[in-house]
Symmetry: C2
Subunit: 202 residues, 2 copies
């Protein structure tokens, strides 16, 4: 961390602060402290809290959303293996950034501005994924399902239990962290089987 240039130190510190506390809860002083520099330097590099936030928000989006396409167009040839691979990798990625989904959702819901454009600007093309699913249906390998619903189901089951970890932990395990981690580890396999069981045609 110490051998980073100042700009990168700021970005790292801001990432931690914004993602933990959200835009309105984040403090420029806290970011400066975490980066080990002076508050005035933040404005020298990024001009305002808002500008700095935008940089971090884009970073957060890029950490989770495009990965989604990247993993789905994986080397696996079998459709069910693709699902297995996706679920395992995506849960792993989200577990490394557990606060990012909640951060993105909260900012999109509370911020009246044009943050949503950050997502549109990704120009995510789902056509190959839709096509892949439709092919499986047409060739009688999986039951008919609207592609959007299949994707949503997979993503929901992968993200939500991690995003909502404090609640899950409290309700299922009285706050026990170890039991929670075991559950998520298990889900890397079981969620995929749950999905495959649902759509497979015997």
């Amino acid at each position: 961390m110490e051998d980073l240039n100042t700009e990168d130190k700021i970005v790292n510190a801001a990432e931690a602060e914004f993602i933990e506390r959200g835009y309105s809860g984040a403090r420029m002083q806290a970011i400066a402290d975490k980066a080990g520099i002076n508050k005035a330097l933040l404005h020298y590099y990024f001009r305002s809290k808002e500008k700095l936030f935008e940089v971090i928000f884009k970073l957060a989006i890029k950490m989770l959303i495009p990965k989604f396409i990247g993993i789905i167009t994986s080397p696996e040839t079998d459709f069910f293996d693709k699902i297995r691979y996706f679920v395992k990798e995506y849960i792993t990625v989200v577990m490394k950034n557990p606060h990012i989904p909640g951060f993105i959702i909260h900012e999109l819901n509370s911020n009246n501005s044009s943050l949503i454009n950050v997502i549109s600007d990704l120009n995510l093309n789902l056509s190959p994924v839709y096509k892949m699913i439709q092919e499986e249906i047409d060739e009688g390998r999986i039951k008919p399902i609207r592609p959007e619903n299949l994707i949503l189901n997979i993503v929901s089951m992968s993200i939500f239990p991690i995003e909502a970890s404090p609640i899950i932990k409290a309700i299922f395990f009285k706050g026990n962290q170890k039991q929670y981690l075991e559950l998520i580890e298990q889900r890397k396999e079981e969620v995929a089987e749950f999905i495959i069981n649902s759509i497979r045609i015997k």
Copy 2:
């Protein structure tokens, strides 16, 4: 709204403000304005922003979490009908309060305090649900599955697509609200069938 007493007017206004902007983003002035009263009155009734927030947070929790148990112990006798009933009702409830899941999760993640106790204090007893699931497994009507995983899958697929609506809307429908609402309406039936297809033993 005008014929409510002052305290209720404040609670309603605070609910809207806190759930939309979160604790740190909410403004006491905005709450007073929405309630049509003076800022000083907020402190007369609730002493501080923090106290008022606690009231709202507890309200938000009660709107979503216990409902979960209430619906599951529904009058339906058939297990699959229970699932159908739960998914339909829960998606409907969440759609009426679409910002609450994100609000709860954000506050639990960013607030270092003891908000989590609000959930523990509910003393949610899942044993009847676990037992119900285990019975279905023992009697060979559904495939073996860890009850926690089944519950998590159902809840994830019911909540996440609503909680993350701005992203879903943007990615799937270029922001089109009507198409999004149709999708969610459809999911009230389809999510249940997706689950039942996965666990049913033919």
